[in-house]
């Protein structure tokens, strides 16, 4: 386009010695730019669409898979809905597997995740506040250790934790999972960043002048302002607890204590969906496994859908540090 417009202008320039018409140049520049913008924009859309497909196709496929028979999964178009009847059958086969093991696993996951979440909140939020807005000996050391443990691979601690819990005779109890999970330095770090960046010290000093005790300042000034970071810590902690596999895998020996993540692994290894030689749970084929996965992710998915706004604002809380 540009190559064409340049000689055209020269031609008019040589034929007519008068200065080139004023309106012409900007209009051509504008159309060239518009064409480039259009090309760039369609290229962008292609990139966005490709990535959207990459992120979405597995999710859509997974949601549709339980509505089909194993055979239809192989034969039919992957993006069609099977039937509700088939979904009912899939559900039936899944929940009757080992007398409702699936539902028990989901219940266990809920107990472990919420239990640990509660302890995390009552420990991490005050700790973040204390680190950000009070002075005490060893504060910097505690902050540094928190950072280090937060960054350190969590599962590097799983085997030592196993030995420690074993020595305390807590293996196989729910505390062997809940207590280590509730130690969540990332939550402390998030609370610390939030309190040190968004709450002006003057505000706290004013509350103290008005006769608030240190605890009162925290309770009546800091906590009401901290709602975004409480939501954020709760979200990250819940998701981390719910998805934790390695810790319960090591700590809990019996199937009726498994959380759903370990249950899924059990389904994978002991049923014929990926292992044609498996002896147990012959009714558990690929659609049943897919349904188990959908059930396993459902709570986190719900949290994702409903807390999106709080999450984004919370994530930005960390970004507005300066």
């Amino acid at each position: 386009m540009r190559a064409m417009s340049v000689p055209a202008r020269t031609k008019t320039g040589t034929a007519v010695p008068a200065p080139p018409p004023r309106g012409r140049r900007p209009r051509e520049g504008w159309s060239v730019r518009r064409a480039r913008v259009a090309t760039a924009r369609s290229l962008l859309l292609v990139i966005f669409a490709l990535f959207a497909a990459f992120f979405l196709i597995p999710v859509i496929w997974l949601l549709l898979a339980p509505t089909k028979t194993d055979n239809a999964l192989v034969q039919s178009n992957p993006f069609t809905f099977g039937s509700l009847h088939e979904l009912g059958l899939t559900w039936h086969y899944l929940v009757t597997f080992e007398n409702g093991a699936m539902l028990l696993w989901l219940r266990n996951s809920a107990v472990y995740s919420f239990g640990a979440l509660a302890i995390t909140l009552v420990t991490a939020i005050p700790a973040g506040y204390g680190l950000a807005l009070t002075e005490f000996r060893g504060r910097r050391l505690l902050l540094a250790v928190t950072l280090v443990v937060m960054i350190m691979p969590a599962s590097a601690l799983v085997l030592p934790l196993f030995l420690e819990i074993n020595a305390a005779h807590l293996i196989g109890t729910i505390w062997s999972v809940i207590l280590p999970m509730s130690f969540y330095p990332f939550g402390v770090y998030l609370a610390y960043i939030y309190f040190s960046s968004t709450i002006p010290r003057d505000l706290l000093a004013a509350a103290r002048l008005d006769g608030c005790s240190e605890w009162g300042v925290f309770r009546h000034v800091a906590v009401p302002l901290a709602r975004p970071v409480v939501a954020l810590v709760a979200f990250f902690s819940f998701v981390a607890n719910w998805n934790n596999f390695f810790l319960p895998f090591v700590m809990l020996p019996s199937s009726n204590q498994y959380p759903v993540q370990v249950g899924l692994e059990n389904l994978l290894s002991s049923t014929p969906s990926f292992n044609p030689a498996a002896g147990a749970g012959l009714d558990i084929t690929r659609p049943e496994l897919a349904l188990a996965m959908v059930l396993a992710i459902a709570p986190v998915l719900v949290v994702f859908l409903f807390s999106q706004r709080a999450l984004v604002s919370g994530m930005l809380a960390g970004a507005t540090k300066e």
């Binding site: 966005f48 990535f51 992120f55 979405l56 196709i57 597995p58 999710v59 496929w61 898979a65 999964l73 992957p78 420990t123 005050p126 700790a127 506040y129 204390g130 680190l131 002075e135 005490f136 000996r137 910097r140 505690l142 250790v145 960054i151 350190m152 691979p153 969590a154 590097a156 601690l157 085997l159 030592p160 934790l161 420690e164 207590l179 130690f183 040190s196 605890w215 998701v239 998805n243 596999f245 390695f246 090591v250 993540q261 899924l264 692994e265 994978l268 990926f274 292992n275 690929r286 396993a296 992710i297 986190v300 998915l301 994702f304 999106q308 984004v312 994530m315 970004a319 507005t320 540090k321």
Partner: protein, 312 residues
């Protein structure tokens, strides 16, 4: 000497003693409150962070009867024929994953930023959604995606020359397969964070650059990316930490591959085998300490260089 200077200073300033005592009392009170706020967390930190770490180091330096063996466990583990391959696997995987993560996450956040606000919001959510499948479910979904018989993109796998699941899940492909899974579940959250950090750059700054004639590429290269630097470093730290501790992903892929993929593919799997198959807790601890040091060294480098943790 120090006491003398202090006394001299006290005499010079003629500060009444009572007041100084009051100051100290108040600051002690403050400090006590500080401890009250962090106390419960401190208990958890010691019980489930410091104590097991110390225990791992103790175990790594002793044998099964509790005798000190120096670095014996470390050398024994390092001479295991499975040791070097496990670290090689993880190194290849980390290179692929971290490069893809940094390039694509920063690229997509920049492309999404400042364009079509509503579309950008929808797309961010779409990219973010698979984060809900982190963990076992995310791995299982990809086992289905990579099985040409049921995969919705079976045509793509066929086009690449794969006709069976076994052909896709050969050990040589594992770093790429695992990077794909990690990117699928992890990238979206980081795109949201990077996008938020981009929103935080003052509009005046971008506008000034534009008036000075900077195009979108120059703005990205000279303003936006430098201002994202600490967030990128933060992403790399956490991604490295999670990447070096891979356990569930290779474990499940190994189970689904029916033995084609070794059950000691990653160092953490090897440590697990030491503990639960060989009942050798000392060697398992040595390997855990290796992993820990690896994570700590990299974290320290980035923490001291990125400027992210200059919070005070």
């Amino acid at each position: 000497m120090a006491a003398e200077t202090a006394a001299a200073r006290g005499r010079l300033t003629r500060r009444p003693r009572r007041d100084r005592g009051g100051d100290r009392a108040r600051s002690t009170l403050r400090a006590r409150h500080g401890y009250a706020f962090v106390g419960a967390y401190l208990v958890l930190l010691i019980a489930f962070g410091v104590l097991p770490t110390g225990y791992a180091i103790y175990l790594a330096l002793t044998n099964s009867t509790g005798q000190l063996v120096g670095l014996g466990n470390f050398t024994a583990v390092a001479h295991d024929f499975r040791f070097a391959p496990a670290f090689e696997h993880i190194a290849v995987y980390l290179v692929i994953w971290l490069v893809a993560l940094v390039v694509l996450v920063v690229g997509l956040a920049l492309l999404l930023h400042g364009r079509m606000r509503r579309t950008a919001a929808t797309l961010r959510f779409v990219y973010y959604l698979p984060g809900a499948l982190a963990g076992v479910a995310g791995v299982l979904v990809w086992l289905f995606m990579l099985d040409p018989t049921v995969s919705p993109v079976g045509w793509l796998l066929n086009g690449l020359g794969f006709t069976s699941f076994a052909q896709v899940i050969v050990p040589a492909h594992l770093p790429v397969v695992l990077a794909l899974m990690a990117f699928w579940t992890g990238a979206g959250g980081w795109i949201v964070i990077m996008y938020g950090a981009l929103n935080n750059i003052p509009d005046d700054l971008i506008e000034a650059a534009r008036i000075d004639g900077a195009g979108p590429f120059q703005i990205a290269r000279r303003i936006q990316i430098p201002m994202l630097r600490k967030w990128i470093a933060y992403m790399v730290i956490l991604a490295f930490a999670t990447g070096s501790q891979l356990f569930v992903e290779p474990q499940l892929v190994g189970e689904a591959s029916l033995g084609a993929v070794s059950n000691s593919w990653s160092p953490n799997q090897l440590a697990y085998l030491y503990a639960f198959q060989a009942n050798n807790f000392n060697s398992a601890a040595a390997l855990s300490v290796d992993l820990l040091v690896l994570g700590l060294v990299c974290a320290a480098i980035i923490v001291t260089r990125s400027g992210l943790f200059d919070v005070e």
